[in-house]
C-alpha cells in the first residue's frame, strides 16, 4: 500500500533519472572526444601517407600495451600525441628493431628479448629481461636487470641506477638508442 502511494514519486524520480543518465553518458563521451581532439590540435598536421606506414620524424607508436598501466579515465581514441620522453633507435644493429624507430617511454619500460617486455628486442646479445628505464622523482633512470652482456650508458657499463639526460646513448645488445627527454 505504501508502495502504491509512493508510486507517483517513483515514476517522477525515474523520469529525471532517465534524462540525467543520458547527460552523464554525454559528459563522459564528450570528455573522451575532447581528450583526443585536443591532442589533435597540438600535434603536427598529419601528412596522409600514400605508401610508407611509418614515415620518419613523426610521433608514433607505443610498441606494446605492456607499457600501459591499467586504471585510467575513459579514453576512446588513439594516444594523445605529445612530446614525451623517448628512445630513438640510432643503430639497430642486428636486432629486430628498425633504424629511426622512436619508442615512447612511459613511467616504466622494460627492455629485453622475452615477449613480456615493454620493448621487445630480438637480438642474440640481448637477454630475456635485459634492462629497465623508469621514472623516479621526475628523473628517468636506467637499470640493468642482470643481463648477460650488460647495459651500456654512453659507453659505460651500467652497474647501479643511472640518471638519463637528453642525448644520452643507451646500448643494449647490438642496438644503440638515443634518449630524448621530451617535455616530460
Amino acid at each position: 500500500m505504501a508502495l502504491g502511494m509512493a508510486f507517483g514519486i517513483i515514476i517522477l524520480v525515474a523520469k529525471y533519472l532517465f534524462l540525467g543518465l543520458i547527460y552523464l553518458f554525454l559528459y563522459w563521451a564528450f570528455k573522451g572526444l575532447f581528450a583526443q581532439m585536443g591532442s589533435e590540435a597540438r600535434s603536427a598536421p598529419q601528412v596522409p601517407a600514400a605508401a610508407a606506414p611509418v614515415p620518419a620524424a613523426q610521433p608514433t607508436l607505443v610498441p606494446s600495451p605492456a607499457a600501459t598501466l591499467p586504471g585510467t579515465v575513459p579514453a576512446f581514441a588513439p594516444a594523445p600525441v605529445r612530446t614525451r620522453a623517448s628512445l630513438l633507435v640510432g643503430d639497430a644493429g642486428e636486432s629486430s628493431l628498425s633504424q629511426g624507430e622512436t619508442i615512447e617511454l612511459t613511467a616504466a619500460v622494460t627492455i629485453g628479448r622475452a615477449d613480456d617486455n615493454g620493448v621487445v628486442v630480438k637480438d642474440k646479445f640481448c637477454s630475456g629481461h635485459h634492462a629497465l628505464i623508469f621514472l623516479q622523482g621526475g628523473q628517468r633512470l636506467l637499470r640493468d636487470r642482470g643481463s648477460t652482456n650488460g647495459t651500456f650508458h654512453n659507453g659505460q657499463r651500467v652497474t647501479t641506477d643511472v640518471a638519463l639526460r637528453d642525448g644520452d646513448r643507451v646500448g643494449i645488445g647490438t642496438a644503440v638508442f638515443e634518449y630524448h627527454a621530451g617535455t616530460q
Binding site: 601528412v47 596522409p48 601517407a49 600514400a50
Partner: protein, 467 residues
C-alpha cells in the same frame, strides 16, 4: 599530397554552428513559445489530456448519480445513468453541460489541483461533486413539462440552493453521445432541445414582473397595498397605450387587488410614479439582469435603456413585464426568492459539496450574497399580497391544502406567437422553504399552463424537505 585537415576543420565548425542554431530554435519553441502553442485553439492536447484522467462523479443531493466515469478504449468518458431528466445538467459531450462547467473539480484541475496527491497517485485524480439538486422533484418537473417547451426552476430561498433546474424539450444524453445520427437529430431539431431554457431562455416575464414593480413602489414608500388606482381598460400612460386584460377595466382597485387581479394599467401608473432613476437603481439592487452562476452557460437579462428614446413609455410597459424586457426563468426565480428571503438577494448555487476520492470534503458550496434589495418589511408586505394572489386571485390553482402559498401568475405577450405562461411562487409564507418558477412557452394562461406544474413541484419539495 594535399592535406585536407584545415578544410575539414572548417566544415566541422560550420556543422557545429548549424547544431547550435538548431539548439537555439529548440529552446525557442519548447520554452519561449510554449505558452502560446499550448493555448492555440488548434491544439487538442488539453482536451485529449482530460481523457486520460479519471474524473469524479456528479450526484444529486439525494445521492442519484447523474454523471459516472467509464473507461472506453483506454479513454475516460462519462455515462449518463440518470437519463434525459438530467440532460441539461449533464450535457452530452465533453464541452457541454456540467461535465464542462464542473471540469475543475471533476478532473482535479485549477483550484482543485492537488499536486501532492496527484504525485502520490501517479496522475491527476478527479473529485466527486454533489449538487444541490433534488432528483425526485427534478424528475417530476421534467415529467410535467413533457410534450411542451418550457422550464422549471426551484430554489431554497434561505440558502440559495438550486433544487430543480429543468428544461423541455429534453433529450437522452446517452444516445446523443454515442450516435452521430442522434447528435444530428438533436442539432437540427427545430424545437432546440439542446437549449437549457431555465438559464438560457430569454422571455418577456409578463405579469410575474409586477412583483418587482410592487416591491419597488412599496420600498420607496410611494404606495401601500391599500393605495388606489383607476383602471379604465385602455388608457394612455406615459405617452403609450396600455391595455388591461379586462377590456372594460377594473375600475378603482387597491394595489393589492391590482396584483391578484393582475391589472396592467395600475402597474403602468405605478411604474410611472416610480420613475426611471429609481427603477434602474432597484434593478441593480436586485441584480435583476445578472447571469446565473451554476456552472452552465447562462444569459443576462435584457431591459430597455430607459434613459434612451421614449424611455418613460417603455418604463410603463416594463412595469408589467412587457416592452423590451426579457428574463430567464432562473432570474425570475431569483427575484421571487429575494422576496421570500426578507428582501435579501442571493445568487443561486448548485454545488453542494466537492469530495475527494478519499471522502474528504474539499469544498462546501454556498450562495453568492447580492445584498439587501428591499427592506424586510417591504418583502413581508409583498409576500402577503402574493398570498392573496393564490387565495383570492389568478393563482388559485397553486393552492395547497394546509400550506400558505404565495405566488404570481403571468401571461406574457409574445410577438412571435401565443403568450407564454408563467407562474412563480413560494411556500410556506410564514417561513419560506421553497421557491418554484415555471415557464411554459405558448402556454397562454399562466394559471392554466404553468400553475398546476408549479403546484405539483412545490408539493413534492415541501414534502421531502430536502435542503
Amino acid at each position: 599530397m594535399t592535406d585536407y585537415s584545415p578544410n575539414i576543420r572548417k566544415l566541422l565548425a560550420i556543422s557545429l554552428w548549424g547544431f547550435v542554431l538548431i539548439a537555439l530554435v529548440l529552446g525557442y519553441w519548447q520554452i519561449v513559445m510554449a505558452p502560446a502553442l499550448n493555448a492555440s485553439k488548434y491544439n487538442q492536447r488539453q482536451s485529449l489530456a482530460l481523457q486520460r484522467i479519471r474524473p469524479g462523479r456528479v450526484l444529486t443531493k439525494d445521492g442519484v448519480v447523474i454523471l459516472a466515469p467509464q473507461r472506453q478504449d483506454g479513454q475516460w468518458k462519462f455515462t449518463y445513468p440518470a437519463g434525459s431528466d438530467f440532460a441539461h445538467l449533464t450535457g452530452y459531450a465533453p464541452r457541454t453541460g456540467l461535465q464542462y462547467g464542473l471540469r475543475e473539480p471533476l478532473y482535479g484541475m485549477g483550484q482543485y489541483a492537488d499536486a501532492w496527491r496527484d504525485l502520490l497517485a501517479g496522475g491527476p485524480t478527479g473529485n466527486d461533486v454533489i449538487l444541490t439538486i433534488n432528483s425526485t422533484a427534478q424528475k417530476l418537473a421534467e415529467e410535467e413539462l413533457d410534450g411542451r417547451r418550457g422550464a422549471v426552476v426551484a430554489l431554497n430561498p434561505r440558502t440559495g440552493a438550486t433544487l430543480v433546474l429543468a428544461s423541455a424539450p429534453t433529450y437522452d444524453p446517452a444516445e446523443v453521445s454515442s450516435s452521430q445520427e442522434e447528435l444530428d437529430l438533436l442539432r437540427f431539431d427545430p424545437n432546440v432541445p439542446e437549449l437549457d431554457r431555465a438559464v438560457q431562455g430569454l422571455y418577456p416575464p409578463g405579469s410575474v414582473f409586477k412583483i418587482f414593480t410592487a416591491a419597488v413602489g412599496l420600498d420607496l414608500g410611494l404606495v401601500t397595498p391599500e393605495t388606489e388606482f383607476r383602471c379604465a381598460g385602455t388608457e394612455r400612460v406615459a405617452h403609450t397605450r396600455v391595455k388591461c386584460r379586462i377590456l372594460s377595466g377594473h375600475g378603482t382597485l387597491t394595489l393589492d387587488k391590482a396584483l391578484w387581479a393582475s391589472c396592467n394599467i395600475a402597474f403602468a401608473k405605478l411604474g410611472d410614479k416610480i420613475g426611471i432613476d429609481n427603477f434602474i437603481e432597484y434593478m441593480k439592487k436586485f441584480h435583476l439582469l445578472d447571469e446565473a452562476n451554476v456552472g452552465l452557460p447562462s444569459k443576462k437579462g435584457r431591459m430597455y435603456d430607459f434613459r434612451g428614446f421614449k424611455g418613460d413609455a417603455q418604463l410603463a410597459l416594463a412595469s408589467f413585464g412587457q416592452g423590451a424586457t426579457m428574463l430567464t426563468p432562473l432570474q425570475v426565480a431569483r427575484l421571487t426568492a429575494a422576496i421570500a428571503n426578507k428582501g435579501h438577494v442571493l445568487q443561486p448555487y448548485i454545488i453542494s459539496q466537492v469530495t475527494t476520492p478519499d471522502k474528504r470534503v474539499r469544498m462546501k458550496g454556498q450562495a453568492g450574497d447580492f445584498g439587501q434589495a428591499v427592506k424586510p418589511e417591504t418583502a413581508h408586505t409583498l409576500a402577503g399580497m402574493m398570498q392573496d394572489v393564490v387565495e383570492k386571485g389568478t393563482g388559485r390553482v397553486a393552492a395547497i391544502r394546509g400550506v400558505s402559498v404565495a405566488g404570481k401568475t403571468g401571461s406574457a405577450e409574445n410577438p412571435q406567437g401565443p403568450a407564454h405562461g408563467w407562474f412563480t411562487c413560494f411556500a410556506p409564507v410564514e417561513n419560506p422553504q421553497v421557491v418554484v418558477t415555471v415557464l411554459v412557452e405558448g402556454g397562454e394562461s399562466g394559471s392554466e399552463s404553468a400553475g398546476p406544474i408549479a403546484r405539483k413541484v412545490l408539493e413534492e419539495l415541501l414534502e421531502t424537505q430536502n435542503r
